[in-house]
């Protein structure tokens, strides 16, 4: 596993990946933070916002969780990026024939898969940490502009909020990553896996949710989002987390068995 981890780190240490991890995710967080502060109203508007963070009040921003509110909003979009990253990382190995080369040097397939996943997760964790730091710094600066009190941000509760936001974002990303890995391993084709995966966690789940509100209680993509947001209108955080972990476990076991047992012929 260690060998595979090191090899994966060597792959990830390239300009395009570092740029994506170091700029895109923090960029999302920065954008979400700026928009959150710019659009924050003095009082809450009536109705429910479709997009997380677009119906925030200045009073809410001044609360303990305000420091990383923008990061938390941005993290809801991170899942899809992580899903694609993990998925293409797996299908790329099949498509480019690199898995064949790798397995002739490291035939312990379970360890290889685990090492690869830990490396990808490490990159995700680092990128999310960077995103949260960027978001927090931007929040402090924008708080002065919008005259938002930051007194509660740096209390124990405020920092706990920040830690929880990071933890939930990372958990949610790991869950999406597990789903991406499973689809990549099971389908092996980038185009097919992306088409199936994005169609499912993108339009399909949300279309069903429009006519069946309980979809958020059962569908994996919506549950993973609920984990990131600390729960949703239709499911509690703990329930979302338990079901999500169950989904991820099943997916990882299935993909692990497939990865270990199936012939590598490409």
């Amino acid at each position: 596993m260690i060998r595979s981890f090191r090899a994966e780190v060597l792959k990830l240490r390239r300009r395009s990946v570092l740029w994506a991890a170091g700029v895109i995710l923090p960029g999302f967080a920065l954008l979400a933070t700026i928009l959150g502060f710019i659009n924050a109203k003095d009082t809450a508007a009536s109705g429910t916002s479709v997009v997380a963070g677009t119906n925030t009040t200045l009073k809410q921003l001044a609360q303990a969780g305000g420091l990383t509110q923008g990061f938390s909003n941005a993290a809801t979009f991170v899942g899809i990026i992580v899903f694609v990253l993990f998925l293409t990382s797996m299908t790329g190995e099949y498509g480019q024939g690199t898995l064949r080369v790798a397995l002739t040097r490291q035939p312990r397939r379970g360890g290889m898969l685990a090492g690869k996943l830990f490396a990808l997760l490490g990159l995700t964790a680092a990128a999310l940490l960077g995103a949260e730091v960027v978001s927090a710094v931007a929040s402090v600066l924008l708080a002065h502009v919008r005259d938002v009190s930051t007194a509660d941000w740096f209390t124990g509760t405020g920092l706990s909020h920040a830690a929880a936001d990071y933890g939930n974002a990372l958990l949610s990303a790991a869950l999406f990553g597990a789903a991406g890995t499973a689809l990549g391993v099971l389908l092996r084709s980038t185009m097919l896996a992306l088409a199936v995966g994005l169609a499912w966690i993108g339009p399909l789940e949300h279309i069903v949710q429009l006519s069946w509100s309980d979809a958020g209680r059962w569908f994996p993509g919506l549950l993973f989002d609920a984990v990131d947001l600390g729960g949703s209108d239709v499911t509690s955080y703990s329930r979302a987390l338990m079901l999500s972990l169950a989904f991820a476990s099943v997916l990882l076991v299935a993909s692990g068995i497939s990865f270990v047992r199936r012939d590598v012929t490409s």
Binding site: L10, Q96, T98, V101, R105, P107
Partner: protein, 327 residues
């Protein structure tokens, strides 16, 4: 980089399989294959397209699970590739590397997977395969031949005891093919074993001292290259007067040879004169035998106007073997 060698039984074959079979659906791609590659040889693995060569190599490397049968690589069972792959370098089908990474970085990844942390020998490896000045370029900018060379460099990482190469000369230009031949020979000179599949029979004949020939998943020949080639080499004799042929035939028969008529010539299997060995191994003995025949013919008042050794090509024997197997 240190040498990684599995605990092979001393003197045992580098590769052996018994009843090795791979079925896809109802079709057997490899069918009860029994083969052996002795330790320390350059062994050629030849057969027509679809004969099951690549599938066999994949099974040897743990990429594909056999449907039946067994085998050992460097003394370790095929069911436990983790116990021997550290001592095996391989290039299977086309090289597979990350297109956006440099050749050097790709080799570093392979070294990491092999558990080799010291990458100081990577530049020397690149140099050895003729990529010394392109190691920092992205793999996607490489030509087909350069990609193949990088694949060979990857196979050489860790100084393996056994090299398994699938069509390594694919995409190489003539000088590249010559370099490949030298590389395989130098590798073998260090006491290591090479098992190489190839369609370039002239190259195989030059570089391989052991052959495994398969067709439709089954072995149709296994043994020294010289044994296969020698069986088709011949001595052709022609007398000035065709009327002398019966006397010449008798003369040769008296020396324990079995000449056959071929038009106005006689043909003798060279293996009868070289104790089954290939020409280059017994050239002095052959020269002596030819001189003796010439002297005897002259003494018997037969003037030879042709005394020719017809060299056999592996290609001819291979074609005959495969055609025989197809019947």
């Amino acid at each position: 980089m240190g040498t990684a060698v599995a605990e092979k039984v001393p003197g045992g074959p580098a590769i052996e399989t018994s009843g090795l079979t791979k079925r896809y659906g109802g079709r057997s791609v490899v069918d009860s294959l029994d083969m052996e590659v002795p330790d320390g040889v350059v062994a050629g693995f030849i057969g027509p397209n679809g004969a099951g060569k690549t599938t066999t190599l994949r099974m040897l490397l743990g990429l594909v699970r056999p449907s039946a049968g067994s085998g050992r690589v460097l003394g370790m069972p095929l069911t436990a590739p983790a116990r021997y792959v550290a001592a095996v370098g391989a290039l299977i089908e086309s090289p597979g590397f990350h297109p956006g990474l440099s050749g050097q970085r790709n080799l570093a990844i392979v070294a990491s997977l092999a558990g080799i942390r010291d990458r100081s020998s990577i530049p020397a490896l690149l140099e050895r395969v003729g990529l010394g000045d392109r190691g920092h370029d992205a793999y996607r900018t490489y030509s087909l031949g350069m990609k193949q060379r990088l694949g060979i460099a990857a196979a050489l990482i860790g100084e393996p005891a056994l090299l398994i190469l699938d069509e390594p000369a694919n995409g190489l230009d003539p000088s590249g093919i010559r370099e490949m031949r030298t590389l395989l020979r130098s590798f073998n000179d260090e006491g290591r074993t090479v098992f190489v599949s190839s369609h370039q029979l002239a190259e195989v004949q030059q570089v391989c001292d052991w052959l495994v020939v398969i067709d439709r998943g089954r072995r149709i020949f296994q043994g020294p290259t010289s044994q296969l080639v020698a069986s088709n080499e011949a001595l052709v004799l022609r007398s000035e007067h065709p009327a002398d042929l019966p006397r010449l035939e008798a003369l040769l028969g008296g020396r324990g040879l079995h000449p056959m008529r071929s038009g106005d010539r006689l043909r003798v299997q060279l293996s009868e004169m070289t104790s089954g060995r290939a020409l280059p191994e017994d050239l002095d003995g052959l020269r002596h035998a030819l001189a003796e025949i010439n002297r005897a013919a002259t003494a018997d008042d037969i003037t030879l106007i042709e005394l020719t050794v017809v060299r056999a090509e592996l290609e001819d024997r291979y074609e005959a073997l495969v055609a025989g197997g197809a019947r």
